[in-house]
């Protein structure tokens, strides 16, 4: 019986003592000793583990993301999300040039030519704040060359050797990029590049020189902090695994539940699996979702957009950063709504957010990886609990009981949990709609259109579309007034929806949702900013839950099949190596 498998602990975290094993007896599984698949063409030097302290980079990024100004976030979630993609795609060079131009403008707007005042003394980074800063300085007579003029949309800089314009809408991202550079490199290092620009006779080429220097410094920091060697090795391992399995053909469509499981079974217990990030089922699952998305996007680009420019490339060459950035944005689309929700409102708690992160992935993977998602949620969570128990030393000497203690829901129960999560997402969306209705915010129309897709061509339908909003703002205002004060006048469907939204709001007792008080205009704006993301999450979850029940899969049988496999693999990973060598 599996439940009585005694086994010692190995591959435990460093602070866990390796324990003597008891005799495993006849029930012990006959696992072969796993090895990492060698990758053709790799040299030991090329695959040497990167010592990059990536935790420090994450910490730097989180510091920027959580920077506040008198209790308000300095950067909104969309800006932080954009900054993350810019850094991840290494597509920051062009933006650093823009940042240097903005630093010139900032210095020129200050009597003492301190560019710092714009970035660190003008409140939360939004286009309006930057516009107000330059207007105020212009009114006080402070602007100096090369700052030439500012209108509602952009600033113009006139250098002796050229002109440059910076849109106000771009400034929050540039400010966030500066914040990242300063947090990562230090003020002294960044100032070394920007200080020479604080002159009235600065040239455009000097700005480009400063930007190149800054880009080199950022690149050096990232090179020292990103585990690119491991990532590259993991990609090639996965490619080699797929190639062997598919007979030489690698395509996104080749990735299915079997591939993910077999790869994890083959690699997770091998020496070096921890460094490579293939120890846990969750990390392997996520890696294959990324792998699939990367293959899909690359094929899309390769075949449709730029066949020559990509076709001639080889590994190690530099791709156009803009192409990488665009493709990364497409790959990030499924989870982007989750990262864009304003932090002041607790739409989802930590556990729900973790579950959503596993469930929000490209729709084309929904069916081929449905079982993998279930495995990730059930056994991935169990593995997480097991690792925590090992780290705490709570597993004791015998691994098997610890494994069984860490097992939680089965697939049937988890299917129900996913359904509840989808219900919660709908509930949150409805509650948000109530805030938007009460605040008479136009975003209410978009939510209603999403929740009532079959709404007929009534005036309500016309009024809630964005196009109608542009054409006739009065009509939209009348619609929003009616929605707030007399929803029944807009038809039964909308009246029922408004009533359901009100009930949903009153039923939620979380931060940001207060009884009978949706908050002031700022709070309404936050709900409006979250609306599109909540709609996307609601849709994705609804479709995923429908997929889980499509064809009435036998989740009970699948769980019973998987359970011993995972238990054996956990034994292989965290048990004693000699134990298996003797098997």
């Amino acid at each position: 019986m599996e439940d009585r498998l005694p086994c010692a602990v190995r591959n435990a975290p460093a602070d866990v003592m390796t324990l003597d094993r008891a005799d495993s007896g006849a029930d012990r599984m006959s696992a072969r000793s796993p090895v990492l698949t060698p990758v053709a063409g790799e040299t030991p030097h090329a695959v040497a583990p990167d010592a990059g302290p990536s935790a420090e980079l994450s910490s730097v990024f989180r510091t920027v993301a959580e920077t506040d100004w008198d209790g308000r976030p300095k950067f909104d979630r969309a800006t932080i999300s954009r900054l993350a993609r810019l850094v991840a795609a290494r597509a920051y060079a062009k933006r650093l040039t823009e940042l240097c131009h903005l630093a010139v403008a900032a210095g020129a707007s200050d009597r003492q030519r301190r560019y710092e005042e714009l970035f660190w003394n003008s409140g939360p980074a939004c286009p309006g704040a930057f516009r107000a800063h330059f207007r105020k300085r212009a009114a006080s007579g402070a602007p100096q060359p090369p700052l030439a003029e500012a209108d509602n949309g952009a600033l113009t800089l006139r250098y002796p050797d050229g002109e440059h314009q910076i849109a106000f809408g771009r400034m929050p991202l540039l400010s966030a990029l500066l914040e990242f550079a300063v947090t990562a490199l230090g003020y002294a290092e960044v100032d070394r590049h920007l200080r020479p620009l604080a002159r009235s006779d600065v040239h455009r080429r000097s700005v480009e020189t400063a930007a190149n220097g800054l880009a080199r410094s950022v690149h050096g920091f990232l090179a020292a902090h990103l585990p690119s060697a491991q990532t590259l090795r993991k990609f090639r391992m996965m490619a080699a695994f797929l190639e062997a399995r598919c007979g030489g053909a690698i395509a996104p469509e080749s990735i299915d539940d079997g591939v993910v499981m077999d790869f994890w079974m083959a690699q997770s217990a091998a020496t070096g699996a921890e460094d490579l990030g293939v120890r846990t089922y969750r990390s392997v699952f996520r890696a294959f979702v990324r792998f699939h998305a990367a293959l899909y996007e690359a094929r899309d680009r390769f075949n449709l957009d730029h066949p020559r420019s990509l076709g001639d490339m080889r590994s190690g060459e530099n791709f156009d950063a803009a192409q990488v950035d665009d493709s990364l944005a497409a790959m990030d689309e499924p989870t982007a709504p989750l990262h864009g929700l304003p932090p002041q409102i607790r739409f989802f708690n930590r556990r729900e957010t973790q579950a959503l992160a596993a469930l929000l992935f490209p729709g084309r993977l929904r069916e081929s990886l449905a079982l993998s998602v279930m495995r990730c949620c059930v056994f991935g969570d169990a593995q997480g609990r097991l690792v925590n128990a090992l780290q705490r030393g709570a597993a004791g000497g015998d691994l098997a009981p610890a494994i069984f203690r860490c097992l939680g829901d089965d697939y049937v129960a988890r299917t129900g949990a996913h359904g509840k999560l989808a219900d919660h997402a709908r509930h949150v969306l409805l509650a948000s709609l109530h805030v938007l209705i009460r605040g008479r915010h136009a975003a209410a129309g978009g939510v209603i259109a999403a929740l009532l897709p079959d709404l007929d061509g009534s005036r309500a339908r016309a009024a809630i579309t964005e196009g109608a909003g542009r054409e006739d703002t009065m009509a939209v205002a009348r619609f929003l007034d009616a929605l707030a004060d007399r929803p029944e006048s807009l038809g039964d469907d909308i009246a029922r929806l408004a009533a359901a939204a009100k009930r949903a709001y009153r039923a939620i007792a979380r931060e940001g949702f207060r009884d009978d008080d949706p908050g002031g205009p700022a709070a309404v704006e936050r709900f409006a900013a979250a609306a599109d993301g909540l709609v996307a999450i609601d849709r994705a979850l609804g479709r995923f839950v429908a997929t889980l029940s499509a064809g009435t899969p036998d989740w009970r049988r699948m769980y019973d099949d998987d359970r011993p496999r995972f238990i054996r693999q956990f034994q292989s990973i965290y048990g004693d190596r000699d134990d298996h060598a003797a098997a």
Binding site: A40, A55, E56, L57, S58, S59, V60, F61, R62, T63, V64, T67, A84, V87, A88, A89, R90, R114, E116, W120, N121, E179, V182, T183, G186, Y187, A188, R195, P227, T231, L232, F235, R236, C246, G248, I250, A251, R286, R290, F291, A293, A294, L295, E297, A298, R299, R301, F302, N303, L310, G311, R314, S315, F319, Q323, V324, S327, L328, M331, D332
Partner: protein, 177 residues
């Protein structure tokens, strides 16, 4: 048209590899981490430039304990200060000093006659600038300045206070912001 499968080493695979790396980095940037957070630069900036800003009381100690942060903060103070009195300009005697002098600025430390446990810190300005400092910084420690009278700032401190010790330290740099 049926798309032929890519081969490892092709441009398509190389691009996919680049995307995989970027997506992995994106996940890493968004990951929770227990690593200690660096001090956010806006906090340093406000501490340096806004006398009304009250930071975490631990901030001066954090600055003193972190070499890079101390370097950054000193660089920032050099940038925003109306006057700085670096160690070299302060050197009258080795070890401890009772005064500093640089440009139009002079700082003196004098014992309070009525209370030997306290000292006067007297800052004299002989220049003509309209802008006068509101804070004094020594090694990350901030001291708000009282209003000036006829170009003189004067305030009392305990003789054994950290700030007095730092002002007397020949190796410390004083900034007037």
């Amino acid at each position: 048209m049926i798309t032929p499968p890519p081969r490892p080493g092709s441009g398509e695979m190389a691009f996919a590899e680049r995307l995989f790396d970027a997506a992995s980095t994106l996940d890493m940037l968004r990951a929770d981490t227990v690593a200690p957070r660096p001090v956010a630069f806006p906090t340093l900036y406000r501490y340096a430039t806004d006398p009304a800003f009250e930071p975490d009381p631990a901030l001066p100690g954090t600055i003193a304990a972190d070499a890079r942060l101390a370097t950054d903060f000193a660089a920032l103070l050099r940038r925003v200060a109306l006057a700085s009195i670096p160690p070299a300009a302060a050197a009258a005697t080795e070890g401890e000093i009772d005064g500093r002098h640089a440009g139009d600025w002079r700082i003196r430390i004098r014992r309070v006659q009525a209370n030997p446990n306290q000292v006067w810190v007297i800052i004299d300005y002989a220049g003509r600038d309209v802008d006068l400092p509101q804070s004094l910084f020594v090694d990350g420690v901030r001291q708000p300045l009282p209003p000036a009278r006829d170009g003189r700032f004067q305030f009392r401190l305990d003789a054994d206070s950290n700030l007095v010790r730092l002002l007397r330290d020949i190796d410390s740099e004083v900034f007037l912001v």
